[in-house]
Symmetry: C2
Protein backbone atom coordinates (compact mmCIF):
# COMPACT_ATOMS: atom_id res chain seq x y z
CA UNK A 1 0.00 0.00 0.00
CA UNK A 2 1.29 3.37 -0.98
CA UNK A 3 -0.76 5.94 0.86
CA UNK A 4 1.01 8.86 -0.73
CA UNK A 5 1.40 8.40 -4.48
CA UNK A 6 2.78 11.95 -4.76
CA UNK A 7 5.91 10.76 -3.02
CA UNK A 8 6.59 8.38 -5.91
CA UNK A 9 7.40 11.14 -8.35
CA UNK A 10 8.56 14.71 -8.01
CA UNK A 11 6.41 15.65 -11.00
CA UNK A 12 3.21 17.16 -9.65
CA UNK A 13 -0.15 16.30 -11.11
CA UNK A 14 -1.98 18.67 -13.44
CA UNK A 15 -4.59 19.49 -10.80
CA UNK A 16 -1.85 21.03 -8.67
CA UNK A 17 -1.22 23.63 -11.41
CA UNK A 18 2.51 23.28 -11.92
CA UNK A 19 4.20 26.10 -13.73
CA UNK A 20 4.80 25.43 -17.43
CA UNK A 21 7.53 28.04 -17.72
CA UNK A 22 9.33 30.71 -15.71
CA UNK A 23 7.38 33.70 -16.98
CA UNK A 24 5.79 34.29 -13.57
CA UNK A 25 9.02 33.64 -11.65
CA UNK A 26 10.76 36.69 -10.22
CA UNK A 27 14.12 36.50 -8.43
CA UNK A 28 15.37 39.10 -5.98
CA UNK A 29 18.83 40.50 -6.61
CA UNK A 30 19.69 39.64 -3.00
CA UNK A 31 18.90 35.98 -3.66
CA UNK A 32 21.87 35.85 -6.03
CA UNK A 33 23.80 38.46 -4.07
CA UNK A 34 27.23 37.65 -5.53
CA UNK A 35 25.98 38.76 -8.96
CA UNK A 36 25.82 42.39 -9.99
CA UNK A 37 22.40 43.54 -11.18
CA UNK A 38 23.74 43.44 -14.76
CA UNK A 39 24.94 39.86 -14.42
CA UNK A 40 21.68 38.87 -12.72
CA UNK A 41 19.72 40.45 -15.58
CA UNK A 42 21.66 38.48 -18.16
CA UNK A 43 21.37 35.20 -16.26
CA UNK A 44 17.70 35.59 -15.42
CA UNK A 45 16.86 36.49 -19.04
CA UNK A 46 18.88 33.57 -20.42
CA UNK A 47 16.84 31.24 -18.19
CA UNK A 48 13.48 32.61 -19.30
CA UNK A 49 12.77 34.15 -15.89
CA UNK A 50 10.15 36.87 -16.27
CA UNK A 51 10.75 39.18 -13.34
CA UNK A 52 13.34 40.80 -11.13
CA UNK A 53 13.04 42.56 -7.80
CA UNK A 54 15.88 44.97 -7.21
CA UNK A 55 17.43 45.66 -3.83
CA UNK A 56 18.68 49.18 -3.36
CA UNK A 57 22.26 48.13 -2.67
CA UNK A 58 22.38 46.64 -6.19
CA UNK A 59 21.84 50.15 -7.59
CA UNK A 60 24.83 51.79 -5.92
CA UNK A 61 27.14 53.75 -8.25
CA UNK A 62 24.89 53.35 -11.28
CA UNK A 63 22.40 55.36 -13.25
CA UNK A 64 19.14 54.00 -11.90
CA UNK A 65 17.25 55.03 -15.00
CA UNK A 66 19.73 53.24 -17.29
CA UNK A 67 19.64 50.18 -15.07
CA UNK A 68 15.85 50.10 -15.39
CA UNK A 69 16.21 50.32 -19.17
CA UNK A 70 18.78 47.52 -19.17
CA UNK A 71 16.38 45.27 -17.24
CA UNK A 72 13.53 46.03 -19.63
CA UNK A 73 15.87 45.40 -22.60
CA UNK A 74 16.31 41.91 -21.14
CA UNK A 75 12.52 41.50 -21.16
CA UNK A 76 12.48 41.47 -17.38
CA UNK A 77 9.50 42.91 -15.53
CA UNK A 78 10.67 45.04 -12.62
CA UNK A 79 8.45 43.71 -9.87
CA UNK A 80 9.49 45.65 -6.75
CA UNK A 81 12.16 47.79 -5.21
CA UNK A 82 13.42 46.43 -1.87
CA UNK A 83 13.35 48.03 0.54
CA UNK A 84 12.10 50.99 2.49
CA UNK A 85 10.78 51.17 6.02
CA UNK A 86 12.55 51.20 9.39
CA UNK A 87 10.36 54.06 10.57
CA UNK A 88 10.54 53.65 14.39
CA UNK A 89 13.21 55.49 16.33
CA UNK A 90 13.26 56.96 19.79
CA UNK A 91 14.43 60.36 18.44
CA UNK A 92 12.16 62.52 16.26
CA UNK A 93 15.15 63.53 14.13
CA UNK A 94 15.87 59.88 13.34
CA UNK A 95 12.24 59.29 12.44
CA UNK A 96 12.43 62.25 10.06
CA UNK A 97 15.65 60.89 8.56
CA UNK A 98 13.86 57.59 7.96
CA UNK A 99 11.02 59.37 6.18
CA UNK A 100 13.54 61.25 4.05
CA UNK A 101 15.29 58.02 3.14
CA UNK A 102 11.96 56.45 2.20
CA UNK A 103 11.26 59.44 -0.06
CA UNK A 104 14.53 58.66 -1.81
CA UNK A 105 13.47 55.01 -2.12
CA UNK A 106 10.26 56.16 -3.80
CA UNK A 107 12.30 58.35 -6.16
CA UNK A 108 14.56 55.40 -6.95
CA UNK A 109 11.56 53.15 -7.66
CA UNK A 110 10.17 55.79 -10.03
CA UNK A 111 13.52 56.14 -11.82
CA UNK A 112 13.93 52.40 -12.07
CA UNK A 113 10.35 51.81 -13.17
CA UNK A 114 9.32 49.67 -10.17
CA UNK A 115 5.61 49.89 -9.33
CA UNK A 116 6.12 49.66 -5.58
CA UNK A 117 8.56 49.78 -2.70
CA UNK A 118 8.49 46.93 -0.15
CA UNK A 119 8.53 48.18 3.44
CA UNK A 120 10.31 46.37 6.26
CA UNK A 121 8.67 48.57 8.80
CA UNK A 122 11.18 48.54 11.66
CA UNK A 123 11.23 48.22 15.44
CA UNK A 124 13.40 49.52 18.26
CA UNK A 125 14.49 47.01 20.94
CA UNK A 126 12.82 47.99 24.18
CA UNK A 127 10.44 50.55 22.69
CA UNK A 128 6.86 49.30 23.10
CA UNK A 129 5.62 47.62 19.95
CA UNK A 130 2.46 49.72 20.13
CA UNK A 131 4.60 52.87 19.97
CA UNK A 132 6.64 51.50 17.05
CA UNK A 133 3.41 50.69 15.21
CA UNK A 134 2.18 54.24 15.66
CA UNK A 135 5.48 55.55 14.30
CA UNK A 136 5.21 53.18 11.33
CA UNK A 137 1.68 54.38 10.59
CA UNK A 138 2.76 58.02 10.89
CA UNK A 139 5.80 57.40 8.68
CA UNK A 140 3.79 55.80 5.90
CA UNK A 141 1.14 58.52 6.13
CA UNK A 142 3.84 61.17 5.77
CA UNK A 143 5.09 59.47 2.60
CA UNK A 144 1.75 59.12 0.87
CA UNK A 145 1.66 62.46 -0.98
CA UNK A 146 5.11 61.78 -2.46
CA UNK A 147 4.18 58.20 -3.33
CA UNK A 148 1.06 59.39 -5.13
CA UNK A 149 2.95 62.15 -6.95
CA UNK A 150 5.51 59.60 -8.15
CA UNK A 151 2.97 56.87 -8.94
CA UNK A 152 4.83 54.45 -6.67
CA UNK A 153 2.94 52.21 -4.24
CA UNK A 154 4.07 51.04 -0.80
CA UNK A 155 3.80 47.39 0.28
CA UNK A 156 3.80 46.70 4.02
CA UNK A 157 5.57 43.38 4.58
CA UNK A 158 4.70 41.69 7.87
CA UNK A 159 7.82 40.01 9.25
CA UNK A 160 8.11 36.82 11.30
CA UNK A 161 7.68 37.40 15.06
CA UNK A 162 11.34 36.47 15.55
CA UNK A 163 12.13 39.88 14.03
CA UNK A 164 9.88 41.86 16.36
CA UNK A 165 12.85 43.10 18.38
CA UNK A 166 14.59 45.23 15.78
CA UNK A 167 13.18 44.68 12.28
CA UNK A 168 9.42 44.96 12.33
CA UNK A 169 6.64 45.60 14.80
CA UNK A 170 4.22 44.33 12.13
CA UNK A 171 4.34 40.55 12.56
CA UNK A 172 1.12 39.16 11.16
CA UNK A 173 -0.83 39.67 7.97
CA UNK A 174 -3.76 40.70 10.15
CA UNK A 175 -1.73 43.64 11.47
CA UNK A 176 -0.58 44.62 7.98
CA UNK A 177 -4.16 44.44 6.71
CA UNK A 178 -5.36 46.56 9.64
CA UNK A 179 -2.78 49.22 8.86
CA UNK A 180 -3.44 49.23 5.12
CA UNK A 181 -7.17 49.57 5.79
CA UNK A 182 -6.61 52.37 8.25
CA UNK A 183 -4.36 54.28 5.84
CA UNK A 184 -7.03 53.67 3.21
CA UNK A 185 -5.09 54.69 0.09
CA UNK A 186 -4.74 52.94 -3.28
CA UNK A 187 -1.01 53.50 -2.76
CA UNK A 188 -0.73 51.29 0.33
CA UNK A 189 -0.97 47.51 0.30
CA UNK A 190 0.88 44.49 1.66
CA UNK A 191 3.49 41.94 0.64
CA UNK A 192 2.87 38.31 1.65
CA UNK A 193 6.02 36.27 2.32
CA UNK A 194 5.52 32.59 3.12
CA UNK A 195 8.64 32.55 5.32
CA UNK A 196 7.19 35.11 7.69
CA UNK A 197 3.58 33.97 7.71
CA UNK A 198 3.31 30.22 7.09
CA UNK A 199 2.70 29.35 10.76
CA UNK A 200 -0.27 31.73 11.21
CA UNK A 201 -3.57 29.92 11.78
CA UNK A 202 -5.45 32.90 10.31
CA UNK A 203 -3.34 33.11 7.15
CA UNK A 204 -5.92 31.86 4.65
CA UNK A 205 -8.60 34.25 5.86
CA UNK A 206 -6.20 37.19 6.07
CA UNK A 207 -5.01 36.56 2.49
CA UNK A 208 -8.64 36.54 1.35
CA UNK A 209 -9.29 39.79 3.22
CA UNK A 210 -6.20 41.35 1.71
CA UNK A 211 -7.31 40.37 -1.80
CA UNK A 212 -10.83 41.70 -1.29
CA UNK A 213 -9.35 45.04 -0.27
CA UNK A 214 -7.19 45.21 -3.38
CA UNK A 215 -4.20 45.30 -1.06
CA UNK A 216 -2.28 42.21 -2.17
CA UNK A 217 0.70 43.73 -3.95
CA UNK A 218 3.41 41.05 -3.76
CA UNK A 219 4.03 37.36 -3.02
CA UNK A 220 7.41 36.12 -1.80
CA UNK A 221 8.50 32.48 -1.58
CA UNK A 222 11.29 30.41 -0.06
CA UNK A 223 11.23 27.66 2.59
CA UNK A 224 11.75 27.12 6.34
CA UNK A 225 14.52 24.63 7.08
CA UNK A 226 14.69 22.25 10.05
CA UNK A 227 16.94 23.06 11.74
CA UNK A 228 17.31 26.75 10.96
CA UNK A 229 20.86 27.66 11.95
CA UNK A 230 20.69 31.43 11.70
CA UNK A 231 17.78 33.77 12.31
CA UNK A 232 18.56 35.89 9.25
CA UNK A 233 20.55 34.09 6.60
CA UNK A 234 19.55 30.43 6.60
CA UNK A 235 16.42 30.45 4.49
CA UNK A 236 15.72 27.36 2.43
CA UNK A 237 15.05 26.78 -1.23
CA UNK A 238 11.48 25.84 -2.05
CA UNK A 239 11.06 22.14 -1.26
CA UNK A 240 13.84 22.11 1.28
CA UNK A 241 11.66 22.85 4.27
CA UNK A 242 8.25 22.51 5.84
CA UNK A 243 6.22 25.28 4.18
CA UNK A 244 3.36 24.17 1.96
CA UNK A 245 4.10 26.88 -0.59
CA UNK A 246 1.68 25.49 -3.14
CA UNK A 247 -1.20 25.69 -0.72
CA UNK A 248 -0.41 29.26 0.26
CA UNK A 249 -0.03 30.16 -3.42
CA UNK A 250 -3.47 28.70 -4.07
CA UNK A 251 -4.88 31.02 -1.38
CA UNK A 252 -3.09 34.00 -2.90
CA UNK A 253 -4.39 33.17 -6.37
CA UNK A 254 -7.90 32.57 -5.02
CA UNK A 255 -7.68 36.09 -3.60
CA UNK A 256 -7.22 37.40 -7.13
CA UNK A 257 -3.45 37.85 -7.19
CA UNK A 258 -2.04 37.59 -10.71
CA UNK A 259 1.47 38.88 -10.06
CA UNK A 260 4.86 37.25 -9.83
CA UNK A 261 6.13 34.57 -7.47
CA UNK A 262 9.21 36.25 -6.04
CA UNK A 263 12.05 34.10 -4.77
CA UNK A 264 13.69 35.89 -1.87
CA UNK A 265 16.32 33.75 -0.16
CA UNK A 266 18.92 35.02 2.28
CA UNK A 267 21.40 32.18 2.69
CA UNK A 268 25.05 32.20 3.59
CA UNK A 269 25.16 28.66 2.24
CA UNK A 270 23.73 29.48 -1.18
CA UNK A 271 25.61 32.75 -1.53
CA UNK A 272 28.82 30.70 -1.17
CA UNK A 273 27.81 28.42 -4.07
CA UNK A 274 28.22 28.84 -7.79
CA UNK A 275 25.27 31.12 -8.57
CA UNK A 276 24.58 29.55 -11.97
CA UNK A 277 24.04 26.19 -10.28
CA UNK A 278 22.00 27.87 -7.56
CA UNK A 279 19.75 29.42 -10.21
CA UNK A 280 19.11 25.93 -11.62
CA UNK A 281 18.06 24.82 -8.13
CA UNK A 282 15.77 27.84 -7.85
CA UNK A 283 14.11 26.89 -11.14
CA UNK A 284 13.65 23.31 -9.92
CA UNK A 285 12.28 24.40 -6.56
CA UNK A 286 9.94 26.81 -8.30
CA UNK A 287 8.66 24.19 -10.72
CA UNK A 288 8.16 21.29 -8.32
CA UNK A 289 7.72 22.81 -4.88
CA UNK A 290 5.95 26.13 -5.41
Amino acid sequence: MNENPQAESREPSFTESPFRDFSKLCVHTITTKPWSVEEAAEQFARNGIGGITVWRDALANRSIQQTGQLLRDHNLTIVSLCRGGFFPHTEASSRQAAIDDNRRAIDEAAELGAPHVVLVCGAVPGQPLTESRQQIRDGIAALLPHAEACGVKLAIEPLHPMYADNRSAINTLGQANDMAEELNSPYVGVAVDVYHLWWDPTLEQEIARCGQNGHLFAFHICDWKTPTLDLLNDRGLMGEGCINIRQIRSWVEAAGFKGFNEVEIFSNRYWAEDQTEFLEKIKHGYRYHS
Copy 2:
Protein backbone atom coordinates in the same frame (compact mmCIF):
# COMPACT_ATOMS: atom_id res chain seq x y z
CA MET B 1 16.02 67.96 32.03
CA ASN B 2 15.87 64.30 32.82
CA GLU B 3 12.84 62.90 31.07
CA ASN B 4 13.36 59.42 32.45
CA PRO B 5 14.11 59.49 36.16
CA GLN B 6 13.91 55.67 36.23
CA ALA B 7 17.16 55.56 34.33
CA GLU B 8 18.87 57.27 37.27
CA SER B 9 18.48 54.31 39.54
CA ARG B 10 17.97 50.63 39.00
CA GLU B 11 15.70 50.54 42.04
CA PRO B 12 12.13 50.61 40.76
CA SER B 13 9.49 52.78 42.37
CA PHE B 14 6.93 51.34 44.74
CA THR B 15 4.12 51.76 42.21
CA GLU B 16 5.91 49.29 39.97
CA SER B 17 5.52 46.60 42.63
CA PRO B 18 9.06 45.32 42.92
CA PHE B 19 9.53 42.02 44.65
CA ARG B 20 10.56 42.31 48.29
CA ASP B 21 11.99 38.81 48.44
CA PHE B 22 12.37 35.68 46.33
CA SER B 23 9.44 33.76 47.77
CA LYS B 24 7.55 33.92 44.45
CA LEU B 25 10.62 33.21 42.34
CA CYS B 26 10.87 29.74 40.83
CA VAL B 27 13.88 28.54 38.87
CA HIS B 28 13.78 25.67 36.37
CA THR B 29 16.37 22.96 36.81
CA ILE B 30 17.28 23.41 33.14
CA THR B 31 18.14 27.07 33.81
CA THR B 32 21.04 25.92 35.99
CA LYS B 33 21.57 22.75 33.96
CA PRO B 34 25.12 22.03 35.21
CA TRP B 35 23.73 21.52 38.72
CA SER B 36 22.11 18.27 39.79
CA VAL B 37 18.61 18.62 41.20
CA GLU B 38 20.08 18.12 44.69
CA GLU B 39 22.62 20.88 44.21
CA ALA B 40 19.98 23.17 42.70
CA ALA B 41 17.72 22.51 45.71
CA GLU B 42 20.46 23.46 48.14
CA GLN B 43 21.45 26.58 46.25
CA PHE B 44 17.91 27.77 45.62
CA ALA B 45 17.00 27.24 49.28
CA ARG B 46 20.13 29.03 50.48
CA ASN B 47 19.11 32.03 48.38
CA GLY B 48 15.57 32.17 49.67
CA ILE B 49 14.09 31.12 46.36
CA GLY B 50 10.59 29.76 46.89
CA GLY B 51 9.99 27.44 43.97
CA ILE B 52 11.53 24.91 41.65
CA THR B 53 10.32 23.48 38.37
CA VAL B 54 11.86 20.13 37.65
CA TRP B 55 12.77 18.89 34.19
CA ARG B 56 12.40 15.17 33.69
CA ASP B 57 16.06 14.65 32.78
CA ALA B 58 16.99 15.91 36.26
CA LEU B 59 15.12 12.92 37.73
CA ALA B 60 17.06 10.21 35.92
CA ASN B 61 18.46 7.41 38.13
CA ARG B 62 16.77 8.70 41.27
CA SER B 63 13.80 7.88 43.42
CA ILE B 64 11.32 10.49 42.23
CA GLN B 65 9.37 10.31 45.47
CA GLN B 66 12.48 10.85 47.59
CA THR B 67 13.56 13.72 45.33
CA GLY B 68 10.18 15.35 45.87
CA GLN B 69 10.64 14.96 49.62
CA LEU B 70 14.14 16.43 49.42
CA LEU B 71 12.78 19.50 47.62
CA ARG B 72 10.03 19.96 50.21
CA ASP B 73 12.58 19.51 52.98
CA HIS B 74 14.35 22.53 51.47
CA ASN B 75 11.09 24.49 51.72
CA LEU B 76 10.84 24.57 47.95
CA THR B 77 7.43 24.53 46.30
CA ILE B 78 7.43 22.15 43.35
CA VAL B 79 5.80 24.33 40.72
CA SER B 80 5.76 22.18 37.57
CA LEU B 81 7.19 19.13 35.90
CA CYS B 82 8.69 19.89 32.46
CA ARG B 83 7.83 18.51 30.10
CA GLY B 84 5.36 16.35 28.25
CA GLY B 85 3.86 16.78 24.83
CA PHE B 86 5.25 16.07 21.34
CA PHE B 87 2.00 14.40 20.35
CA PRO B 88 2.09 14.75 16.53
CA HIS B 89 3.64 11.99 14.46
CA THR B 90 2.86 10.68 11.01
CA GLU B 91 2.56 7.09 12.31
CA ALA B 92 -0.24 6.04 14.65
CA SER B 93 2.17 3.85 16.62
CA SER B 94 4.40 6.86 17.32
CA ARG B 95 1.40 8.90 18.43
CA GLN B 96 0.48 6.08 20.83
CA ALA B 97 4.06 5.96 22.11
CA ALA B 98 3.86 9.70 22.79
CA ILE B 99 0.64 9.24 24.74
CA ASP B 100 2.27 6.45 26.74
CA ASP B 101 5.25 8.65 27.50
CA ASN B 102 2.94 11.46 28.62
CA ARG B 103 1.20 9.00 30.95
CA ARG B 104 4.58 8.31 32.52
CA ALA B 105 5.18 12.06 32.84
CA ILE B 106 1.88 12.34 34.72
CA ASP B 107 2.97 9.47 36.98
CA GLU B 108 6.29 11.20 37.60
CA ALA B 109 4.54 14.49 38.46
CA ALA B 110 2.33 12.63 40.93
CA GLU B 111 5.31 10.89 42.53
CA LEU B 112 7.27 14.13 42.69
CA GLY B 113 4.34 16.14 43.99
CA ALA B 114 4.13 18.56 41.04
CA PRO B 115 0.63 19.90 40.40
CA HIS B 116 0.95 19.94 36.64
CA VAL B 117 2.96 18.87 33.63
CA VAL B 118 3.91 21.52 31.05
CA LEU B 119 3.21 20.41 27.50
CA VAL B 120 5.42 21.36 24.56
CA CYS B 121 2.86 20.08 22.15
CA GLY B 122 4.98 19.09 19.15
CA ALA B 123 4.91 19.40 15.36
CA VAL B 124 6.19 17.37 12.44
CA PRO B 125 8.05 19.22 9.68
CA GLY B 126 5.94 19.07 6.54
CA GLN B 127 2.82 17.73 8.21
CA PRO B 128 0.05 20.36 7.98
CA LEU B 129 -0.19 22.35 11.20
CA THR B 130 -3.95 21.76 11.21
CA GLU B 131 -3.30 18.01 11.29
CA SER B 132 -0.72 18.36 14.07
CA ARG B 133 -3.18 20.42 16.09
CA GLN B 134 -5.81 17.72 15.75
CA GLN B 135 -3.27 15.13 16.94
CA ILE B 136 -2.37 17.35 19.89
CA ARG B 137 -6.01 17.72 20.86
CA ASP B 138 -6.56 13.97 20.53
CA GLY B 139 -3.43 13.23 22.54
CA ILE B 140 -4.41 15.49 25.42
CA ALA B 141 -7.96 14.13 25.39
CA ALA B 142 -6.59 10.58 25.61
CA LEU B 143 -4.56 11.57 28.68
CA LEU B 144 -7.35 13.25 30.61
CA PRO B 145 -8.72 10.23 32.49
CA HIS B 146 -5.22 9.40 33.75
CA ALA B 147 -4.50 13.02 34.65
CA GLU B 148 -7.73 13.21 36.63
CA ALA B 149 -7.05 9.90 38.36
CA CYS B 150 -3.60 11.13 39.39
CA GLY B 151 -4.72 14.67 40.27
CA VAL B 152 -2.15 16.13 37.88
CA LYS B 153 -3.07 18.96 35.54
CA LEU B 154 -1.77 19.61 32.03
CA ALA B 155 -0.56 23.06 30.92
CA ILE B 156 -0.49 23.73 27.17
CA GLU B 157 2.46 26.02 26.47
CA PRO B 158 2.19 27.96 23.22
CA LEU B 159 5.64 28.20 21.63
CA HIS B 160 7.10 31.00 19.53
CA PRO B 161 6.25 30.71 15.82
CA MET B 162 9.93 30.05 15.09
CA TYR B 163 9.32 26.60 16.62
CA ALA B 164 6.30 25.76 14.44
CA ASP B 165 8.36 23.42 12.27
CA ASN B 166 9.21 20.73 14.79
CA ARG B 167 8.35 21.78 18.36
CA SER B 168 4.83 23.09 18.53
CA ALA B 169 1.90 23.70 16.23
CA ILE B 170 0.40 25.82 19.04
CA ASN B 171 2.06 29.21 18.54
CA THR B 172 -0.20 31.81 20.13
CA LEU B 173 -1.99 32.11 23.43
CA GLY B 174 -5.20 32.42 21.43
CA GLN B 175 -4.67 28.93 20.04
CA ALA B 176 -3.83 27.51 23.46
CA ASN B 177 -6.92 29.14 24.93
CA ASP B 178 -9.07 27.76 22.11
CA MET B 179 -7.79 24.27 22.77
CA ALA B 180 -8.16 24.48 26.54
CA GLU B 181 -11.73 25.73 26.11
CA GLU B 182 -12.54 22.98 23.65
CA LEU B 183 -11.15 20.26 25.95
CA ASN B 184 -13.15 21.89 28.74
CA SER B 185 -11.63 20.14 31.73
CA PRO B 186 -10.40 21.52 35.06
CA TYR B 187 -7.28 19.46 34.33
CA VAL B 188 -6.30 21.41 31.20
CA GLY B 189 -4.93 24.96 31.19
CA VAL B 190 -2.08 26.93 29.68
CA ALA B 191 1.42 28.14 30.50
CA VAL B 192 2.31 31.71 29.50
CA ASP B 193 5.98 32.27 28.61
CA VAL B 194 7.01 35.83 27.79
CA TYR B 195 9.74 34.60 25.41
CA HIS B 196 7.20 32.90 23.18
CA LEU B 197 4.41 35.44 23.35
CA TRP B 198 5.74 38.96 23.94
CA TRP B 199 5.34 40.05 20.28
CA ASP B 200 1.64 39.11 20.06
CA PRO B 201 -0.65 42.17 19.67
CA THR B 202 -3.51 40.22 21.28
CA LEU B 203 -1.48 39.10 24.31
CA GLU B 204 -3.15 41.27 26.95
CA GLN B 205 -6.66 40.24 25.93
CA GLU B 206 -5.71 36.57 25.62
CA ILE B 207 -4.15 36.60 29.10
CA ALA B 208 -7.37 38.11 30.45
CA ARG B 209 -9.42 35.45 28.65
CA CYS B 210 -7.18 32.73 30.02
CA GLY B 211 -7.57 34.02 33.55
CA GLN B 212 -11.35 34.30 33.28
CA ASN B 213 -11.46 30.67 32.22
CA GLY B 214 -9.39 29.58 35.21
CA HIS B 215 -6.85 28.27 32.71
CA LEU B 216 -3.75 30.27 33.68
CA PHE B 217 -1.57 27.61 35.29
CA ALA B 218 1.99 28.93 34.89
CA PHE B 219 4.03 32.03 34.07
CA HIS B 220 7.56 31.76 32.63
CA ILE B 221 10.04 34.62 32.30
CA CYS B 222 13.35 35.37 30.60
CA ASP B 223 14.29 37.92 27.92
CA TRP B 224 14.75 38.24 24.14
CA LYS B 225 18.25 39.36 23.21
CA THR B 226 19.21 41.48 20.22
CA PRO B 227 20.82 39.84 18.39
CA THR B 228 19.67 36.32 19.19
CA LEU B 229 22.43 34.03 17.99
CA ASP B 230 20.73 30.66 18.31
CA LEU B 231 17.08 29.75 17.90
CA LEU B 232 17.10 27.46 20.93
CA ASN B 233 19.82 28.24 23.44
CA ASP B 234 20.42 31.98 23.45
CA ARG B 235 17.70 33.25 25.76
CA GLY B 236 18.49 36.30 27.80
CA LEU B 237 18.35 37.06 31.49
CA MET B 238 15.55 39.40 32.53
CA GLY B 239 16.64 42.95 31.71
CA GLU B 240 19.04 41.87 29.02
CA GLY B 241 16.59 42.16 26.17
CA CYS B 242 13.53 43.89 24.80
CA ILE B 243 10.65 42.20 26.61
CA ASN B 244 8.63 44.37 28.98
CA ILE B 245 8.33 41.56 31.52
CA ARG B 246 6.88 43.79 34.21
CA GLN B 247 4.03 44.86 31.95
CA ILE B 248 3.19 41.29 30.97
CA ARG B 249 3.39 40.26 34.63
CA SER B 250 0.91 43.01 35.45
CA TRP B 251 -1.49 41.53 32.90
CA VAL B 252 -1.02 38.05 34.34
CA GLU B 253 -1.63 39.31 37.86
CA ALA B 254 -4.66 41.33 36.72
CA ALA B 255 -6.00 38.05 35.32
CA GLY B 256 -5.93 36.63 38.86
CA PHE B 257 -2.69 34.66 38.69
CA LYS B 258 -1.09 34.24 42.10
CA GLY B 259 1.51 31.62 41.26
CA PHE B 260 5.27 31.68 40.81
CA ASN B 261 7.38 33.63 38.36
CA GLU B 262 9.39 30.84 36.77
CA VAL B 263 12.78 31.63 35.31
CA GLU B 264 13.35 29.35 32.32
CA ILE B 265 16.53 30.23 30.45
CA PHE B 266 18.21 28.02 27.87
CA SER B 267 21.61 29.56 27.28
CA ASN B 268 24.86 28.02 26.15
CA ARG B 269 26.53 31.17 27.45
CA TYR B 270 25.10 31.00 30.97
CA TRP B 271 25.46 27.22 31.25
CA ALA B 272 29.20 27.74 30.67
CA GLU B 273 29.42 30.20 33.59
CA ASP B 274 29.82 29.59 37.29
CA GLN B 275 26.25 28.74 38.28
CA THR B 276 26.46 30.42 41.68
CA GLU B 277 27.29 33.72 39.98
CA PHE B 278 24.57 33.07 37.41
CA LEU B 279 22.04 32.58 40.22
CA GLU B 280 23.01 35.99 41.60
CA LYS B 281 22.31 37.49 38.18
CA ILE B 282 18.95 35.71 38.07
CA LYS B 283 18.05 37.22 41.44
CA HIS B 284 19.07 40.67 40.22
CA GLY B 285 17.14 40.31 36.96
CA TYR B 286 14.12 39.08 38.86
CA ARG B 287 14.20 41.94 41.31
CA TYR B 288 14.82 44.83 38.94
CA HIS B 289 13.59 43.69 35.54
CA SER B 290 10.62 41.42 36.21
